[in-house]
Every structure is written in structure tokens, then in C-alpha cells.
């Protein structure tokens, strides 16, 4: 629709933008990443006072929690919030809105072309200045940093879908070009009428990001074929998921797994004496905790078509199972049989909630 160019770096430009929104009462709060200077720790911060905005690093390549999870309840509070989200967080939130777990009504969603995020174990300890500096240099040229999450390297949706405001941060963010802010909705346009900067009618040009898109597609192919090789057949599954300790961390951090009454956490999966007796009588031995494979396969059938590939699940796995790679790969397949792209459009219904009278003639 329209654009604003601020002659500063992307990081400073987005801070100006947030200052405009919060300082002029366009929003009540801002949600963005923050680095705690004293300890080097990262968190997601909700800021209501302009003087705290300076602490934020909205474009930081860090995801401590998929923001769509915390945004669910916040978005229903009635307060106006400007939320800086990575493209997959925004897609995750759209999926949650479809599941009635939030609303886009009071939000101004700000997203950016994304260069990927670091695995958490890389950024939780000590100084990351050097890491960030190198990252920025690589990302600005449209290449893939070698130390980001596997699923980020393989992510093809690094251009935000449906953000009210898009910031150019990866690929086409070249020194001297300033911070390009693209405005995609009337709501955002109204809020940014008086924002300082050169107002224009530029559009984000996906062609400038083709190099990154091609590199990502190649990585995606590589990741998926390695998973296909390792995680094939029952033996492959046992190899990959046999390490599972049953902590269910992957489902707790998942933006799609919103069910507070998850079946796998319910009494259905409380194992009692008859269960053990029956299993032991049949097989003579039993893996404990039981049903870890059922848990992962169950989750694949319950939510893989909505998987946004954020990589949180792999990041929190205590035994380094490549959960995100398996889920992204299977998710791409399950979504494609319904021509579905998670987070593409809030009006598009979840595939298992709708049907066509004539489909899948090969079944039944």
C-alpha cells in the first residue's frame, strides 16, 4: 500500500516506529524481544512506558518462546498492542486465531523479512555481540548464517504473510538504504500517518530476495532428504524417537498445541497395573515411559498440517531429537493434500474442520 523510509539502520528505524506508536497513544503496549544488558539473557518484553523502549531489540535473531503463545491472552485483553513478530510467530498466531485462541482486532502486527534465529543454547550464555555482528553481515547480503536453527535454514516463508507492517531486515537491507517500512493495512496506515521519515509508495520486492529464497529451498531439500533417510520405517522411527524421555516439552512450546486439556496429559494416559500386565504378557518387556512413539505420531496427526516450522520443539528437546525437522517435513506433506498453508490467511479454515463432498475418491 505505502511505505516509509527512515534513514537509520533497521534496528534503529523500528525503534523509532515503536516510539511513534506508543508515544502518540496509537497503541497501549509494545511486545518485542529484549536483551537484559546486565546478564546477557533474552526475553520477550511487554512495554507500556516509552522510556523502556530503548531496552528492546525487536529484530534480534532470538526466539525464547514463540510469541504467538503469549500473545493469545494479551490479544483478548482489549488493549491495543503493537507486536513485533517473526514471520513464523505471526503465522502461528493466525493459526491460533483460527482456533479461537486470540484475536487480530486490537493488534498492530509488525513483522520483518527474517534471517532466522539462533538455537537458544547459543545465546543464553555470555556475550552475543560478536555473534550478532556476524549474523547481521551475513543476513544483509541474503545468505544463510551457518549457526541458526536447522528449520530456519530450511524456512521458505521468511517474508511475512498478512503483517500490518513489514520491515526489510534480511536480504534487501543494505547499508545506506535506511530502514524500509512497508505498510500493508488501513489500520497501520492510519497509525503511521504522522510518523517521521520519507513517506512513499514502495512495495517490498520479492525479487530482491530471490537469492535467499533459492538458498533456503536448497537447504530445505537437504534437511528433508536427510530426515527421510534417517526417519523411515519403524526402525528409523525408533532410531529418531527412541531417545525421547517423554517430557512433552515439544508440545508445550508449540504454538499450535494450544489444548490445555491435551489428551496425552489426561487420565487416558495414566498407566495402571492392568495396562502393564497386559503389555508384559504380550511382549515380555516394556519401554518406560510408555507410548512416546504414540505421542509423537499422535501430534503429527493432530497438528502437523498447521506446523509453522518455528523450531521451538527441537530447541527445547533435552535429548536433541530433530522434532522440528520431522514435523516440518511431514507437515508440508499433510498440508499439501489439503492445499493448505498454515498462517496464510485467517479466513482459510483448518483442514480438519471442513470437507468437500467429493474428495479422496481413492479412500473408502
Amino acid at each position: 500500500m505505502s511505505s516509509i523510509n527512515i534513514e537509520k539502520s533497521a534496528e534503529k528505524g523500528i525503534n523509532d516506529l515503536l516510539r511513534h506508536l506508543l508515544g502518540n497513544g496509537k497503541v497501549d503496549a509494545v511486545l518485542a524481544m529484549r536483551m537484559v544488558k546486565s546478564s546477557g539473557a533474552w526475553d520477550l518484553a511487554l512495554v507500556t512506558d516509552v522510556k523502556n523502549l530503548a531496552e528492546l531489540s525487536p529484530l534480534a535473531p532470538v526466539m525464547t518462546v514463540n510469541a504467538s503463545q503469549v500473545l493469545s491472552n494479551l490479544s483478548l485483553s482489549g488493549k491495543k498492542i503493537a507486536a513485533v513478530l517473526k514471520p513464523c510467530e505471526l503465522r502461528g498466531f493466525v493459526e491460533r486465531v483460527k482456533r479461537e485462541q486470540g484475536s487480530l482486532e486490537n493488534l498492530i502486527t509488525i513483522s520483518h523479512t527474517c534471517g532466522g534465529v539462533f538455537p537458544l543454547d547459543l545465546v543464553v550464555e555470555g556475550s552475543v555481540d560478536d555473534l550478532l555482528h556476524k549474523y547481521e553481515k551475513v543476513v544483509a547480503t541474503g545468505e544463510i548464517p551457518s549457526n541458526i536453527r536447522d528449520t530456519c535454514k530450511a524456512c521458505e516463508h521468511f517474508i511475512p504473510m498478512n503483517a500490518d507492517i513489514t520491515i526489510a531486515a534480511a536480504g534487501e537491507c543494505k547499508p545506506g538504504h535506511g530502514c524500509m517500512i512497508y505498510i500493508n493495512s488501513d489500520k497501520a496506515k492510519e497509525a503511521l500517518l504522522e510518523c517521521t521519515g520519507h513517506h512513499g509508495n514502495d512495495l517490498l520486492d520479492p525479487i530482491s530476495l530471490e537469492k535467499l529464497a533459492a538458498a533456503r529451498a536448497k537447504e530445505r531439500e537437504k534437511l528433508f532428504s536427510s530426515i527421510e533417510k534417517d526417519c523411515s520405517g519403524l526402525d528409523g522411527l525408533v532410531n529418531i524417537f527412541g531417545k525421547c524421555v517423554g517430557c512433552h516439552g515439544c508440545s508445550r512450546v508449540c504454538p499450535i498445541c494450544y489444548c490445555t486439556l491435551c489428551d496425552f496429559e489426561s487420565a487416558n494416559f495414566d498407566y495402571n497395573l492392568p495396562y502393564f500386565e497386559e503389555h508384559l504378557a504380550r511382549k515380555g518387556a516394556l519401554r518406560l515411559p510408555p507410548d512416546t512413539m504414540l505421542f509423537h505420531m499422535g501430534r503429527l496427526t493432530h497438528m502437523s498440517f498447521s506446523c509453522v516450522g518455528c523450531g521451538m520443539c527441537s530447541d527445547v528437546c533435552p535429548v536433541s531429537i530433530p522434532v522440528a525437522a520431522v514435523f516440518s517435513r511431514t507437515g508440508a506433506k499433510t498440508a499439501s493434500i489439503f492445499d493448505y498453508v498454515p498462517g496464510r490467511d485467517v479466513a482459510e479454515e483448518i483442514p480438519v474442520m471442513i470437507f468437500k463432498e467429493e474428495e479422496f475418491p481413492e479412500l473408502g
Binding site: G233, G236, L237, L294, I337
Partner: protein
Amino acid sequence: MNKEFTPRITSFLCKWCSYTGADLAGTSRLQYSTSIIPLQVMCSSRVDPVFLLKAYLSGSDGVLMGGCHPGDCHYETGNYHTRRRFALVKEVFDSLGLESARLKLSWISASEGPKFARVANEYTEEIRKLGENPTRKSIFL
């Protein structure tokens, strides 16, 4: 002692159509495979994908889903949802390199006793060719 492999086929049959179809096969004195282990559900859409997975991972050699023909669901649209979920589970199986032929969906109405017997026999044969489900013996699942 007969050492021939006898498959075990866990069968989720909807109360209004397929289970009644199975009853009709029985009262019509039709012979059908004893591999079929029928479970009655109120509607095929009651069957969560996890039920199919549980049956598969617990060592069922085949898992059969029976429902009303599309358009004839007792609850109007339940079986349309079943069909989507079934396609989903099959895709998950294929993507993981598991034998999706161990899953079968069939529409059998209350008046189709002979069809039930035929599906039961044919599917048993198919599964017999596939052999025993490796999950039967696998402990570490």
C-alpha cells in the same frame, strides 16, 4: 499345529451402518474372516487418529474403519470428517515410511451384509500377504 499366520484386524465400525452391516452378514449366515475384531463406535468420526495409531502400534496387523456411505451419515457429516482425517493419517504413515496399506477405510451400509463379508475377507487376504506387523514384537515403541 497350524502355523499359518492369522492376522488381527482391529475394526472400528459405526453403529448405524457398518456394525449393523456386520450383524446382517452374521444373521445372513455369511462366512467372513475371523481376523476381524469389531469395535462399535457411535460414528466413524468418533475415531480420533490416535485410536488408529494406538491399534497399529499395539500390534494390530491391520486397522479397518467402517462408516456410512458419504452423504448417508446418521449425523449428516461425520463421515466426511472421517475421510479427511483418514487421508491425513495415511499421509503421516507415508511420510514416515510406514505401511499405510495396514490402514483401510470402507463405506458399508446397514443393508450391505455381503459387502461387509467381502471387504473382511479381501482385506484379511491383503494383510496376510503383508505379513505380521513388526510392532507386534517391537518393545521399544
